[in-house]
């Protein structure tokens, strides 16, 4: 696919990186030579220096032969204008990043009128991810599939967990039949476990399940936490705004701590029900005064990763709150993952996941529809959702008879309102939503899980 990316910020960079990995031809456009240089030096992409809204620059970048244009500059208006011009000039699909809450209200209208294939709002997507964690705090990460009917729930095995030392085949006998262990992250490694696998403390385990069955499971292993009733959000950026809106909507009390007074004023106008505190979120006495010790949820969402990490570590020490840490830059991943930070969200990964999902789905064939994509363990594994449209080489055959590739797992099947945790006798059928976990290779069509 020929892809043009306008804007070389954090998201732009990650996108180029990811799309490169998937063998797409990427051209990047930016007005800042040093940013462009950074990308062309480190990644295999072509850089065009110029204004992305300019017709001639876009022509130079090859808009006439491009299949997709992604506008991710810092300004919503620039992104929209860029997509509009691209649409008028070439025949490509367009994706714009739109973050302003005001436009966000009108997203359907914009999408329609500007002829956009997709609008991405990284802040809102990140907020959604955090909201899910607060809704289901037993897990450190929740990836939902089939419109929320199936979930991939990630949790860390605590030091006193009954799971430690348990072998996987025994797990299904002694614990519960209706959850399926999909992946285990141990250190830097991702394992799709087989029956002999033995759990260890600090493993991050992902299970596929229905939510209510999962809750039962978490109760059995003594890790169940009930839904968060109040939350403190450190930092009052856009993620905070979207998150507060979602949480307030589901009846969770929200306190936002933001240092900039003008921003506080804006927040208090837009979120009348939230408690807006103007102060430094790293001020320990302020945090305690605002009830951190009794908080049930805490999200560190300031603009500084270091601050966020410190805040979460502190919170985990002084309270039993469910903590979420936002990390913008991805360096030091291995160090961060060893810290007791609770859940970690990476807005730019979330964004590129969204876009990759779209790119792959345009590649998908007719007989299966590519629905969702989540990257696990820094992209080492992927959880994907397909909807089986027509019968093909994978459907109608019991799973045990399918010649699956290595490191492939069918985690869950959603059929007619029921979630099936598949055994060897189950099969995929037309109309099913299927959750597939793979590691070590990439696919954009369900048939690719079979060995050639």
């Amino acid at each position: 696919m020929n892809i043009i990316i306008v804007g070389c910020g954090k998201v732009g960079y990650t996108l180029v990186e990811q799309l490169n990995n998937e063998d797409h031809d990427v051209v990047v456009v930016d007005e800042r030579p040093e940013k462009l240089q950074n990308i062309t030096d480190n990644l295999d992409a072509m850089g065009i220096l110029g204004n992305g809204m300019s017709h001639s620059t876009l022509l130079e970048a090859g808009i006439t032969t491009a299949d997709l244009l992604i506008a991710v500059t810092g300004d919503d208006e620039k992104n929209l204008l860029c997509c509009l011009i691209a649409k008028k000039t070439g025949h490509c699909q367009t994706i714009a990043r739109v973050r302003n809450p005001i436009y966000n209200e009108e997203i359907a209208f914009l999408k329609e009128e500007f002829g956009l294939a997709m609008i991405i709002n990284p802040e809102q997507a990140t907020a959604m991810e955090i909201a899910q964690i607060f809704q289901f705090p037993s897990a450190i990460r929740v990836d939902s599939f089939a419109k929320g009917h199936m979930s991939l729930l990630h949790f860390r095995i605590g030091p006193n967990s009954p799971l430690i030392g348990l072998q996987l085949f025994k797990f299904h006998q002694t614990m519960q039949r209706n959850v399926l262990v999909c992946t285990v992250i141990r250190g830097d490694e991702v394992i799709i476990p087989n029956g002999d696998f033995q759990f260890e403390a600090n493993d991050i385990v992902a299970i596929a399940s229905e939510r209510r069955n999962a809750l039962e499971f978490f109760r059995k292993i003594g890790a169940a936490k009930s839904r968060v009733g109040n939350a403190i959000l450190a930092g009052g950026g856009k993620v905070s705004f979207y998150l507060a809106k979602m949480l307030l909507h589901s009846g969770i009390d929200v306190t936002i701590i933001e240092i900039d007074r003008a921003r506080c004023e804006v927040l208090s106008e837009q979120l009348p029900k939230a408690t807006i505190i103007c102060g430094d979120a790293t001020d320990q006495s302020l945090l305690m005064q605002e009830g951190l010790a009794n908080a049930e949820g805490f999200a560190a969402l300031t603009g500084l990763d270091e601050e966020n990490i410190l805040l979460s570590l502190y919170t985990n020490r002084v309270s039993g709150a469910r903590t979420v840490t936002k990390i913008n830059r991805i360096g030091f991943h291995s160090v961060i993952s060893e810290l007791d930070l609770g859940s970690i969200v990476y807005p730019r990964v979330t964004t590129s996941d969204y876009i990759l999902r779209y790119v792959r789905s345009t590649n998908a064939s007719k007989n299966s529809e590519f629905e969702k994509l989540y990257k696990l363990a820094n992209g080492k594994a992927e959880a994907l959702e397909f909807i089986i449209k027509e019968s093909s080489s994978v459907s109608g055959i019991p799973l045990q008879d399918l010649n699956l590739r290595k490191n492939t797992l069918i985690g869950c099947i959603y059929r007619n309102g029921h979630v099936i945790i598949p055994s060897g006798q189950d099969m995929m059928m037309e109309g099913d939503s299927v959750l597939v976990v793979i590691s070590g290779y990439r696919i954009s069509d369900i048939r690719e899980i079979l060995e050639d």
């Binding site: 007074r261 506080c264 004023e265 927040l267 208090s268 106008e269 009348p272 408690t275 807006i276 505190i277 103007c278 102060g279 302020l286 005064q289 605002e290």
Partner: protein, 479 residues
């Protein structure tokens, strides 16, 4: 200060007053009364004086905020001074101070009277008395603006000074059209009430004067017992129209533009109706033993609550005889007043809502010292300026209340009389309690006290600030 333009505006006002005075003249001639002559003479004088002052338009028609406030307060004073003369000429009110009190009480829609026997007045005077309510209710400037293209954009400064409420907003882009819509609604409500009252068997003259008193939220009755002797159906009709007149006129505008939902979204209207319902139920429960049936108790309680909260001041019964709790509820309602943007007086419900929200905010800040919170009305944040001016309004309000009570206590009446007399005039209600109760009148006070109460009435009608500005020396400096 632009004195030329202020004189010009006063001239306009006098011309309009001349025109208004022709109506009682007409009534006088219809009933064949001699008093008609007095009104005719005064109409001609006002008109000629007005012509004299408006001979030529001043070269500079700039009307700044200060000029607007001064023009409005002076106009109201001048209007009252001239409007009082006919009472003197017809010898129905022999003292000019009393006549002035009666006229100011009329224009400010107070309805406090110095007359012991109202029924002795001629039809022309009764009509003029009630008609001043109607003029004063919506405001004379709103009327002038609806008709004359006065001076372009800066007329908003006049409207700001005359309209009740913490913040004034236009309904449509042009001041002139806004004024037309307001008067259109005003006249519409007036006609509805006249027709309904006639249908329930009131004579045309009675229904006209009663309607003027109702929709202007004035309260001058044409009978000594106010509305006590009319049928329950008539009293209930008046109750409904009093309550309607206390509603923000923006609500009627929404209603007319077919936005029924928006009307009930107005927070103030909901508070207003809720308060009426609660207060009337409380009183009905309290006075249930005094009347034959619960229905009658409800009728009286709703009438009195509507009359007091909208600052009309009609009465169907002597509420001075009611139990203490009911009287206390009524006195509290006197302070509350009607909605902003209505014809009613008092502190205004919206100000009270803003104040209660400020209290909530201040208390929350004690719990979270670094809390940032905006006060909201109708889902929109209230500007800090509005909150500040509301606080200052309340401060001036209570200082005026205390000072006036102190000043009239020279007359040595009891505290209830003094206090409720000031409350009833400052809030433009009319009757107070005890010696100024619904069956009594204000003639007992000395001339000095009457001037204090006249000031209170004007201050109350014009929302304190315009009258206070007159007292500031720097207002009168040339710049």
């Amino acid at each position: 200060m632009n004195y030329a333009i202020i004189l010009y505006i006063l001239g306009c006002v006098l011309k309009f007053e001349g025109a208004f005075l022709t109506l009682p003249t007409l009534v006088g001639f219809l009933y064949g009364e001699n008093s008609a002559i007095a009104y005719l003479v005064m109409a001609v004088i006002c008109f000629l004086l007005g012509l004299l002052l408006t001979r030529k338009k001043p070269s500079s028609s700039n009307l700044y905020s200060r000029d607007g406030f001064v023009a409005v307060s002076l106009s109201w004073i001048v209007m009252s001074i001239f409007g009082a003369v006919p009472f003197l000429l017809t010898k129905e009110i022999p003292s000019y101070v009393d006549a002035l009190f009666e006229t100011i009480s009329g224009f400010t829609t107070t309805g406090a009277s110095i007359l012991g026997n109202v029924e002795a007045l001629s039809h022309a005077s009764l009509f003029w008395r009630s008609f001043t309510h109607w003029i004063g209710g919506m405001g004379v400037f709103v009327f002038i603006m609806a008709i004359l293209p006065l001076m372009g954009g800066s007329t908003m400064n006049l409207m700001k000074a005359e309209s009740p409420g913490p913040s004034v907003s236009k309904l449509v882009p042009h001041v002139k059209d806004t004024a037309k819509i307001l008067y259109g609604i005003y006249i519409g409500i007036t006609l509805c009430e006249v027709v309904l009252l006639c249908a329930f068997g009131m004579s045309l003259f009675d229904s006209l004067t009663t309607t003027f008193g109702t929709v202007g939220t004035g309260g001058f009755g044409i009978k000594n017992d106010s509305l006590g002797s009319y049928t329950p159906a008539i009293q209930n009709t008046v109750t409904i129209f009093m309550i309607l007149s206390g509603i923000n006129y923006a609500a009627f505008f929404f209603l007319l533009s077919g936005k029924l939902k928006d009307m009930f979204k107005i927070e103030e209207v909901r508070w207003y109706l809720g308060t009426i319902l609660l207060a009337a139920s409380l009183i009905a429960f309290d006075i249930r033993g005094m009347y034959g049936s619960l229905r009658e108790a409800l009728r009286h309680s709703f009438f009195q609550v509507g009359s007091i909260i909208t600052t009309t001041g009609f009465s169907t019964t002597d509420f001075d005889l009611w139990p203490e709790m009911s009287k206390c509820v009524l006195v509290i309602l006197m302070f509350a007043g009607a909605c902003a943007g209505s014809t009613g007086g008092g502190i205004k419900i919206s100000r009270l809502v803003i104040l209660f929200k400020s209290i909530h905010k201040e208390l929350s800040i004690l719990i979270h010292p670094r809390l940032i919170k905006k006060i909201r009305m109708d889902g929109h944040p209230v500007e800090h300026e509005v909150v500040r001016s509301t606080n200052v309004f309340l401060a001036i309000y209570f200082i005026t209340l205390m000072a006036s009570t102190l000043l009239i206590s020279i007359d040595e009446f009891n505290f209830t009389t003094n206090f409720t007399a000031v409350v009833a005039t400052l809030n433009n209600i009319g009757p107070g309690l005890d010696f100024v109760g619904p069956t009594q009148n204000f003639s007992i006070f000395s001339g000095f006290s009457k001037f204090v109460l006249m000031f209170d009435m004007l201050a109350g009608r014009l929302e304190l600030f315009p009258m206070m500005i007159l007292l500031m020396p720097s207002t009168w400096k040339r710049s």
